[in-house]
Symmetry: none
Subunit: 207 residues, 4 copies
């Protein structure tokens, strides 16, 4: 699954990167506020700080912006997560740490994650597949942490259970954003992490 090439009329790679970062930042703000379809390219250009003509020097179509946004968000989540996971604990504690790290990263990038959750479905087929693969990769990251616990004999789970637990953990992290209207009203982030970690671990720590 290769990174899709977004066409640009401009040669200077440095400039391309800079302009696209401006676009992505602007797009996240606008998409969060009004969604992908209700946001116009003109608005994105304006919020980015340049003209509509310039916008189209760096992308081929409006959908490219959405793709750029989703791709950037995944990269940022991955990167931040990896940074947080560089801890030297093992076993159950490493799983606890991973859950905590994941939840915190998602909380950190709340708006971005929410946008991705709500709008990625509007991606063209191929781009969607690429983004889905990233989600699968991320699930695999969590899976590995759990599997390590199993390998160490701290958990006793089948492969199926490992995979499902990973999905659950990821979705419970996302839930923090897409059910914010309920969960963020009832719990602080710390409480949420505490409670969810407990429920998850008890679930896995069966005989």
């Amino acid at each position: 699954m290769k990174k899709k090439k977004v066409p640009s009329m401009v040669k200077d790679q440095q400039l391309i990167k800079k302009r696209r970062e401006q676009m992505i930042k602007a797009a996240v703000i606008l998409f969060k506020e009004k969604g992908f379809h209700r946001t116009t390219t003109r608005e994105i250009a304006k919020e980015s700080g340049f003209s509509i003509g310039t916008l189209y020097e760096y992308i081929g179509s409006k959908e490219d912006i959405l793709y750029l946004v989703c791709d950037a968000i995944y990269d940022e989540v991955s990167e931040k997560l990896k940074k947080r996971l560089k801890q030297d604990v093992e076993g159950i504690d490493s799983l606890k740490a991973a859950i905590g790290a994941l939840f915190k990263v998602i909380d950190d990038l709340q708006d971005e994650v929410l946008v991705m959750y709500q709008e990625s479905k509007s991606l063209p087929k191929e781009a969607l597949a690429y983004v889905l693969q990233k989600e699968i990769d991320m699930t695999a990251m969590i899976e590995h942490v759990i599997q390590d616990c199993v390998n160490l004999g701290h958990l006793n789970l089948s492969d199926q259970e490992v995979k499902l637990a990973a999905h659950n953990i990821l979705v419970q992290a996302h839930m923090w954003t897409f059910r914010r209207w309920a969960v963020q009203k009832s719990y602080s982030l710390e409480e949420y992490i505490e409670l969810q970690t407990q429920l998850i671990l008890e679930g896995l720590l069966k005989e």
Copy 2:
């Protein structure tokens, strides 16, 4: 939170009901395929089996269709769930039954639930609030089942834990549709129910 009144030029309530059912059915098919924004009112009319003029005899705007769709889906989920829950078991078994029932209902109405998940954000503010309330109500239903177990002394959970568990159960049910590309590839519905029920219950059955 009152049911929003969708305007109609037609007087015959029977007919309104019938036509709107046609519209909703058509809309779900189309929204699932291309999303709310990419579906035109003309397409909905055509798929419904009548003209664009007739469509607008039964609604005030395109957004009304989305509202009608979301409202109908919730009603259907609720109704089916209530029907399945009329079992005479108690305690943990009733919770198991509820989880199974919920998951089966969601599986049954997969397309509908997916559409609602992806498009309800496009509802106008007020309608969104109404739909959100329905989601809250449904969460409360699950909460009650769990609370009953607590009251019977079969579970030992704080209110916060009860509420969170209810959210988790609901989201895990929805997950079956919005992560279908992963979970439905790895598990049959029965396996999924079995495994999730286990994970949830173990999580709740702590000392």
Copy 3:
């Protein structure tokens, strides 16, 4: 210039007359409020007290309603004017009386006259010609009154002057409605009649 035949599916002439009167009354109210083009046939039917289907039993098209309205207004103005003119004065006094009568009739039928002034241009060609002819006839009525004064030697005017004076009188009467925002703020009807009569007569009473 023949009265245009407005088609009807109904035979009973009595009923046609009754229904059309209902329609005209309703239409005047609505046209005054929002103009011919912004008034829908449905609204006219509703205001008339019957269904849209019934409306079309008594006319062939929306424009027919406008024609019916204009025609009725002219007939009413004419009739009322004739009634008021049945006075047995002669010469200048009869002209004064005519002016007063005309102004009072127009004041009486203000809304109707205004509607006719503003909307008759939307009549189809042929109907417009018919209505224009009625206006010409009415001008002729005033002309005759002036001409009588000339014939009696009380005024000394050329045919051209007689005709122009008639137009002026009529337009000054209409002015009472279509410049109401100015003239009805500055003058009472009596003042207006008094002042205009004076200006007109002084104009005609030259050596």
Copy 4:
């Protein structure tokens, strides 16, 4: 009463002016032929020489075009009138000159004035108030000319009479367009001016 701001997406003020002039010219032609409501925005765009998209770069709604038209006509009438009034006569002669000037200007801008007369009622409330104010201003201009004669002792009129005479003169000028089907058949412009001037002045020159 401020000039209403018509929105435009284009920045270049020069261009806005040019394009709007094209639009106004096109609109007058079309409105005269078929009225405001029967003229489509597409037709206006085409007659203006650009696309429908471009039209909407320079206005916010169809009604804006009507407003632009009415505003432009008033400005043109005012300007032309002021130019013609720069004569160095005094007293009754200046009034005669003013009447002649007004009538000639109206004749010059016949189509425009007629359009404004027939369509301005379709303006939205606020814009209508603005246009009415312009009409009031113009009436005041005539009033001043008459009042000067009174001040010089050449006419002996009350304020009420002065105001009413001004209204009459203006309406008689407009009459030349909105009763063209009658008056322009019977009189040449010169005759019309000659006769009306006479009738008006005799009316005012009472003892």
